[in-house]
């Protein structure tokens, strides 16, 4: 029978008053794919960081391949055959694949012999595991799916037998994700052990052999994947019954509130990212833009919100044109009723070192209600923040807490509360649930439907196809900068997937 690859006993880790991990027991069988799910803040990353030597547990024992192990640094983990593929890739953009794989494992002072050795080894790994990547390609030229392969190759090159993948599909298209799963199965067949951290229940069901559920720092259940259901796992994760699909009534589309005509946008290198795109968004409807990340959605959002210069075309907001020179005043757009939940809440939508209350007015800080003569009205600002915290159930309910200390879902709620409470005419939303836990996703989706039902025009850009399908009244698919199709919400995943991959099916249109 298969032996145990990793065994954790009574692992606890506290950060001050917060128990990130409490008394965790976990047994991972060698040669299996083991999923770990849980909401943000459930302690998955902390647990894996302990396993990978970033943190030391306060108490508890780790055994690797049956032997007690003390993992004080990542290099100790690597020596024990544990490799990690991080959610945010740790690659040097302007190095080649080969150079990245070698980095930190060069072997000797002079590179020429070790390069040759590394190249042979890399080619062998690529062959054995179906991980084809050109060793001489620069990382910055590779699509994210291939960059992820490089991360996996890096771990294998260091002799990893146990591979930890942290939210690996967040940046992948459905097709790329499928390919990744094939690779993981291949790795499993070669006898490797894979630990997959994710919050996507579908992936757990599709690929894992066993699944462990974490909630609030504790390990609440371990199941054989074949013997559980999505519903059971969701309930275990959140601790209550969860609606996985939002219920919504028929939309009542009204006047055109946002109109985009023949919009063309280039990026800083002069590459056309948005190519002659036209669409309307009416009051009381959600228009979803589906597409694989990097097909011009970000640039489209930036052009509409006046942040990025457009080459040509027009954008009208409630009948008045939007300045497209890239010098548009975001404050003016807000005054005219455009609210914007940006794709990147960490760098754009929020200032993470700010207190929560300071972010609750970001972009609206010029409003009279926040000011008292020449000074900020600190009391009014905090009261306003507390009101939003209450209304949007933001936790912890502390408006003086640094924003970086909120979980992803709560950070997103801070942004949504700010933008929705302005009672905008048009709400532009990018990736509303990226890195957000299941419980918060349900809440966010509900609020977006509510906005629609209140007669707001909502433009939703998301790489999560499920999200687009369950929320949108109309779906536009972007590929290579163009809108390649429009579908109703009844469109199948396969149909949209083909459009997203650039395979146009004329006969299926409208």
């Amino acid at each position: 029978m298969a032996h145990t690859a990793i065994e954790l006993n009574g692992i606890s880790k506290s950060f001050g008053a917060v128990h990130a991990n409490r008394n965790i027991d976990l047994k991972i069988t060698a040669g299996t794919i083991h999923g770990i799910i849980g909401e943000n803040g459930a302690g998955k990353s902390t647990l894996m960081s302990i396993l990978y030597g970033f943190y030391q547990a306060d108490s508890g024992r780790i055994q690797v391949a049956g032997k007690p192990a003390s993992i004080k640094t990542p290099s100790a983990a690597i020596a024990l055959g544990i490799g990690m593929v991080h959610q945010h890739f740790m690659l040097v953009e302007n190095f080649t694949v080969l150079e990245n794989v070698m980095l930190g494992a060069e072997g000797e002072a002079l590179l020429n012999t070790s390069i040759a050795k590394a190249r042979d080894e890399l080619e062998r790994l690529e062959r054995d595991y179906g991980l084809e990547v050109d060793p001489d390609a620069l990382i910055e030229d590779l699509p994210v799916g291939l960059q992820q392969r490089v991360e996996i190759l890096k771990a294998l090159y260091r002799g990893a037998d146990i591979l930890i993948l942290d939210e690996p599909t967040g940046v992948l298209t459905p097709a790329e994700a499928d390919h990744l799963f094939r690779i993981l199965r291949q790795l499993k067949e070669e006898g490797k052990t894979v630990i997959l951290i994710t919050h996507k229940l579908r992936e757990i069901m599709a690929i894992t052999d066993n699944v462990s559920v974490m909630r609030q720092g504790a390990m609440v259940a371990t199941r054989k994947t074949a013997e559980t259901t999505v519903e059971e796992l969701a309930e275990l994760m959140v601790g209550r019954h969860v609606l996985l699909r939002v219920e919504k009534g028929e939309g009542r589309a009204g006047d055109v509130m946002l109109s985009v005509k023949n919009l063309t946008v280039k990026d800083s290198r002069g590459v056309t990212m948005v190519d002659d795109v036209s669409f309307d968004v009416r009051a009381g409807e959600i228009v979803g833009i589906a597409g694989v990340a990097g097909n011009g959605q970000s640039q489209l959002l930036e052009a509409i919100t006046g942040v990025r210069q457009a080459v040509s075309g027009t954008v009208t907001l409630d009948g008045t044109p939007v300045e497209l020179t890239g010098e548009a005043d975001p404050v003016d757009l807000r005054k005219r009723g455009m609210a914007h939940v940006p794709e990147d809440r960490h760098h754009v939508g929020l200032v993470l070192p700010f207190e929560e209350n300071e972010n609750a007015m970001l972009g609206y800080h010029w409003q009279d209600k926040y000011l008292k003569g020449p000074l900020l009205d600190i009391e009014a600002i905090r009261d306003d923040a507390r009101r939003k915290i209450e209304k949007y159930d933001i936790r912890p309910a502390d408006c003086r807490l640094k924003t970086a200390n909120f979980s992803g879902g709560n950070q997103q709620k801070i942004v949504l509360a700010r933008e929705m409470e302005q009672d905008p005419k048009v709400l532009i939303v990018g990736q509303p649930t990226r890195g957000v836990d299941v419980g918060a996703i349900e809440f966010i989706h509900r609020r977006l439907i509510d906005m629609r039902d209140q007669g707001k025009a909502v433009l939703l850009v998301s790489v999560e196809l499920d999200e687009i399908r369950s929320l949108s009244d109309r779906i536009l698919v972007m590929f290579a900068g163009r809108v390649v199709g429009e579908r109703g919400p009844e469109a199948t995943e396969g149909e949209l997937g083909l459009l997203m991959a650039g395979v146009e099916k004329k006969e299926a249109a409208e």
Partner: protein, 379 residues
């Protein structure tokens, strides 16, 4: 990955860690003193005695601290906008020109209390103007402010030499300096305050601009944490993208932050020019612009930290002068070494002892160490 450090209580963060850094800086400085063959303990005693031993010494310490408060605040305001203004030296130098022009024009017609506000305006205006050029290039052309402000220090020095030698020097004088200001261009001394407290001060340049410095520190706090402008400055300092999203013009905010920074640096000139020497002379800034960087780093860009840090550096300056006098083996450059060590440990290596202090706190009392473990995505 998550933030590697757990949070510390505020008193440890703002009090204990700077003190540890300082202690290490002095420890290493002590080794240097041993190297030159003197007793470090005696040297430390002389230094402290020289800085605080008598009313006279305290007055000098506070006189130096006054300059450092201004330049420290100048660096801090720019820091909050994530701009590294190394040009405090030049801005202060040119600020002195503003002070001198006001004093030369009005010292015979107006009393000092009417000249003083004009001189403040002159100092701030000239300092800000000198900061404006690098700020404009940074905002519009992306020229790095560190490079341009350093270069403008040299340009300021050359410009001032030219002006002092060719324009401002009274006819027939051999010294490159302006004429001495009349009563209207002289700030009253504050030595009587120390005397009222029972210290004896013979004569020291400690003057009214010290109170102005304290007022400036308070106003900078109001500006940064209590005004919309300060909010926008911090926003751009933490995240330029978020500032753009929020409708804060990057060009505008960079220029405004640098103008305020330059004005504060310029106001430093009031202290030596109007408060002490009563004339504009060459190189009156004597490094205060650079000390301001250390002061801002040590004070963690907060006025409540900058004032004590400035006083500490005032002690180093004053005590160091006494030390150089008492111990011939130790030159004034020794003080520069200690300063450098303080900058190294309080600024560049600010976080060196943090992990161990945090580990210590965490092990002593888990409740006190606060929470900052998991954040953002992927939990």
């Amino acid at each position: 990955m998550s933030a590697p450090y757990a949070k510390l209580p505020a008193w440890a963060d703002y009090g204990l860690i700077p003190l540890i850094n300082l202690a290490v800086a002095f420890l290493v400085a002590g080794l240097v003193v041993m190297l030159v063959g003197e007793n470090p303990i005696r040297a430390a005693a002389i230094l402290v005695e020289g800085a605080l031993g008598r009313g006279q010494n305290i007055a000098y310490t506070l006189y130096y601290a006054t300059s450092f408060i201004f330049t420290g605040l100048a660096v801090a305001v720019a820091f909050h906008c994530s701009l590294f203004n190394i040009g405090g030296e030049g801005q202060a130098y040119v600020g002195g020109l503003g002070v001198a022009l006001v004093c030369l024009a009005f010292d015979s017609v107006l009393p000092w209390w009417l000249v003083f506000p004009l001189a403040i305006a002159g100092a701030a205006l000239f300092g800000a103007a000198w900061a404006f050029i690098p700020a404009y290039f940074q905002a519009k052309r992306g020229s790095h402010i560190v490079i341009t402000t350093i270069m403008f220090n040299f340009i300021a020095a050359s410009l001032m030499v030219y002006l002092l030698v060719n324009v401002l020097k009274p006819a027939g004088s051999q010294a490159p300096q302006t004429r001495t200001f009349l009563e209207g261009g002289q700030l009253p001394k504050l030595n009587f305050v120390l005397e009222a407290l029972g210290f004896s001060v013979r004569s020291a340049p400690f003057n009214l601009s010290f109170l102005l410095a304290l007022l400036a520190a308070f106003l900078v706090w109001v500006l940064i944490w209590r005004t919309r402008l300060g909010y926008e400055i911090r926003m751009r300092g933490f995240s330029p993208k978020a500032a753009r999203y929020a409708g804060v013009s990057e060009t505008k905010i960079i220029i405004i932050a640098m103008l305020i920074s330059g004005a504060l640096a310029g106001m430093m000139a009031l202290n030596p020019v109007m408060g002490d020497q009563n004339r504009l002379q060459m190189d009156f800034v004597t490094g205060a612009g650079f000390v301001g960087i250390a002061v801002a780093l040590m004070g963690r860009s907060h006025p409540a930290g900058i004032v004590p840090a400035a006083i500490l550096f005032g002690m180093l300056y004053q005590g160091g002068a006494e030390l150089a006098f008492e111990m011939p083996n130790i030159s004034r450059d020794m003080i520069v070494i200690i300063q450098g060590l303080v900058i190294l440990f309080a600024g560049a290596l600010e976080n060196m002892f943090r992990p161990s202090v945090q580990a210590l706190f965490a092990s002593l009392s888990p409740q006190a160490a606060g929470v900052e473990a998991r954040q953002g995505e992927g939990g």
